[in-house]
Symmetry: C2
Subunit: 101 residues, 2 copies
């Protein structure tokens, strides 16, 4: 499994609506091929910045299968208007398991 | 719980030694007051960049208790020489639980 980590910076004073839209979008990820997990966190020092953390079986499940799907268009329809800038998307692979899950 | 996410960019060709040093440092976090979890991921597009992801009960457990501890000095002694630049550290709070843990 790999992680997609997308840094999302949203327009000021849209937090409640944006978080509700992401919550509404959870099923899009739940039914996506190769999607293992999804959650979102909000910056404490930078409260207009969020991290969307999505576990995928492979990078291709995200960048090919999901990006080419109608559900990706639906994701962008739900949340895209809140973005203050283009999302910054990177992928990561676990290297030190550490502890605590 | 909150997450510390530290972006660590290391010197080229030091990956194996750096990852071994972080593995050696896991007990420093396991015994830190208020530390809930710890793991590290490596960038797929940017393989010199790692994310250290540490769960803490509060920001203060990280920024006051741990930063002022002898174990923080030990952490920096183990891994500091590998850094190509200063770590970029931010804190995040969960806002959308999503699914899959």
């Amino acid at each position: 499994m790999i992680y997609e980590i997308a840094e999302l910076t949203i327009k000021p004073d849209t937090h409640a609506a944006f978080e509700a839209a992401v919550t509404q979008a959870v099923p899009l990820f739940q039914r996506a091929a190769g999607c293992v997990s999804m959650r979102m966190e909000r910056g404490i020092e930078a409260p207009d910045t969020y991290l969307l953390v999505v576990g995928w079986q492979t990078v291709e499940h995200h960048m090919v299968d999901f990006r080419d799907s109608a559900d990706f268009q639906e994701w962008r329809r739900l949340v895209g208007d809140y973005f203050a800038q283009a999302p910054k998307v990177h992928h990561y692979a676990g290297v030190v398991a550490g502890f605590g899950g």
